[in-house]
């Protein structure tokens, strides 16, 4: 047992290095550095898919799958060098050899040519423990002797073209993740963020990339600050704040058509736009009536409804998943703390009491927890509070953490932090075990917003 544990530890540290090496040469603008938490990840194997065509193999799918699963914090794909064999189907798997490594599940697959520029991809997710017991053996079922298939957790075939390899890799990772955890995978998602590089004449950029930093696309460049990007629930639009006219104004921009609309131009603050879960309204902060208050704008008719009414600062609204309540930051108790407001009754309730300040609250997708920025002893960290217990857990140890945004499956938080005197993005799992940094190559990166599920 101890020997196996040691072996595993070695495998794990190698796995981290291997995946990092795999990621570096590609054109990711944000490359991931895992800083903590691999000890709780489940060992798995992502076997490179076998190429059944003639000539050189097309792009490798499994590197992307392994990187996805690694950065979910839940899985630790063993390095290629540690694999005892390279099976392409469940029937080729020599179970005892994989089980000896402590590997829980193996992903195997094949790629075949299917017309010009098209490929048929087949993959199988195999449970090693069950495979060891029943795999390849004949069992009696309904009075008939059949080959047991219960070790094969999922098996699929799809035809894709050569431009879809990356996307399909994320799809495979989603299926694997859901099969093994029971929770939907969030690998086919994007993040929006703001970059600031004062060496450019337009230092501020609004950027969208795949969740892993690939396919980075600048949506807007500006000489003046850009803030608070927020996704529409269908993932097609971003609301954000732009100072391009020397004052803050809220815009909504279609990320595909580039069409953009200025939604507000009120005197004073126009900040933190957030789409309602049904996409029909936009929560925002306006100070047109004297001081920062939370409003909801009906997007069809542009009518405003005032949600808060207090002489202290009220800001940072975020919708509950059912759209019936909001969490927001208020100074009404003297220091910034989180409050919730029931949108029907208008009833306000204080949520946080621990720490000097709590700001930037956001509900988890199940509505059972709130993730926030907690200030204790002058340090800003990402924290999570459970309901109804009210227990507060600090998730990060990085410096000046802010702008937490959750993956749509609630597994991971992306946030902005400071590392080596620069703002960078970082990831922490909602249980606080897995931590990673996504350093930018140049300038600062901030205000991350994780997209909803994309189809």
């Amino acid at each position: 047992m101890t020997m196996m544990k040691n072996k595993l530890l070695t495998l794990m540290s190698t796995a981290v290095i291997t995946v990092l090496v795999m990621l570096t040469p590609a054109k990711a603008a944000l490359e991931i550095v895992i800083t903590e938490g691999m000890d709780s990840a489940r060992p798995i194997a992502v076997v490179p898919f076998r190429w059944l065509g003639s000539g050189p193999a097309p792009v490798e799918l499994t590197e992307v799958v392994a990187a996805d699963l690694l950065r979910s914090g839940r899985f630790n794909p063993i390095p290629l060098s540690a694999m005892p064999q390279r099976p392409a189907t469940a029937s080729e798997i020599d179970y005892p050899r994989w089980a000896a490594l402590g590997v829980e599940a193996v992903l195997v697959g094949r790629i075949e040519p299917n017309g010009v520029g098209r490929y048929s991809v087949t993959f199988e997710i195999v449970d090693v423990l069950r495979g060891q017991i029943t795999g390849g053996t004949q069992v009696l079922r309904n009075g008939e002797l059949v080959r047991s298939q219960d070790h094969s957790l999922d098996a699929r075939t799809s035809v894709i073209d050569e431009t879809q390899f990356r996307q399909y890799s994320h799809r495979i990772a989603d299926v694997f993740y859901e099969t093994m955890t029971g929770q939907r995978g969030a690998f086919m998602t994007r993040i929006a963020y703001v970059t600031v590089n004062f060496n450019q004449d337009k230092p501020y950029e609004l950027v969208v990339a795949d969740y892993d930093g690939y396919n980075e696309q600048v949506l807007l460049r500006s000489p003046e600050p850009l803030m608070s990007p927020s996704w529409s629930p269908d993932g097609s639009k971003l609301a954000y704040v732009s100072f391009e006219n020397r004052r803050p104004q809220i815009f909504i921009q279609d990320i595909y058509t580039r069409k953009r609309e200025r939604v507000t131009d009120y005197p004073g603050i126009n900040s933190r736009p957030v789409f309602s879960p049904d996409g029909g309204s936009l929560a925002m902060v306006l100070s047109k009536d004297g001081n920062p208050e939370i409003y909801v704008m009906n997007l069809a008719g542009k009518q405003l409804r005032r949600v808060t009414n207090h002489h202290a600062i009220d800001t940072e609204p975020n919708w509950s998943p059912d759209g019936k309540a909001m969490v927001f930051t208020s100074e009404r108790g003297g220091r910034p703390q989180l409050y919730s407001v029931n949108l029907d009754s208008g009833q306000v309730r204080r949520l946080t009491f621990e720490g000097e300040q709590n700001l930037g609250g956001t509900y988890t997708p199940d509505g059972a927890q709130v993730v926030m920025v907690n200030r204790s002893q002058g340090n800003y960290h990402i924290a999570k509070q459970d309901y109804p217990t009210g227990v507060l857990q600090i998730l990060t140890q990085t410096a000046l953490d802010e702008s937490p945004s959750l993956a749509p499956n609630g597994s991971m938080v992306i946030y902005s932090t400071t590392y080596n005197n620069r703002q960078v993005l970082a990831l922490v799992s909602v249980d606080g075990r897995f931590k990673a940094r996504l350093p930018a190559r140049e300038g600062e990166v901030k205000s991350p917003a994780w997209s909803p599920y994309l189809r």
């Binding site: 004062f198 600050p225 803030m227 608070s228 100072f243 020397r246 004052r247 803050p248 004073g268 603050i269 900040s271 933190r272 902060v285 100070s287 001081n291 920062p292 600062i313 800001t315 940072e316 930051t329 910034p336 300040q357 700001l359 930037g360 920025v373 200030r375 800003y380 410096a399 000046l400 802010e402 702008s403 400071t418 005197n421 703002q423 901030k446 205000s447």
Partner: protein, 181 residues
Amino acid sequence: MNAKQLLKGLFIAVPMMTLAACSSTNGVDAADTTNGGSATAGQVAGSDNGVEIDGIERVKSPAEIRQEQVAALAQVNMVFFEFDDSRISASAAEVLQQHADFLVKNPNVTVTIEGHCDERGTPEYNIALGERRAKAVVQYLQNLGVSGAQLSTVSYGEEKPLIRASSNEAYAKNRRGVIVY
């Protein structure tokens, strides 16, 4: 050759003889001296015969005076705040007094007060805090008699730091109100 140009020539010729010891050449517009016949003559005579040319200071227009005052005020257009605080300090009050004096005398001049924060705290909360700082400056200037119509505010929160660093010195410089003419 009109009377105006002749007059200009005289302005140069007369002090040339009477105020030879004065060293200031401020206000002498070189382009003017080439226009008038007498001025040209005076200049040629001056350079040939070892005399010294001088002039008197031209009277500044009110717009020019105002421009100079604005330029001087722009040198001291920032006030600084404590952490998470929007109160006007004694040193800030001194700065604001100078601006108020000018703005009261020049009711047609408008300014924008920018509110800024250090990078600690969330960006959106800092936008609110920056506005509170800008408004504290506005309130202070109004108390000194400046009309509200001359004053507008914009909060940039932590988005436009003066010093791009994460140190207490940088933070102290970044928590500021800026008076922009």
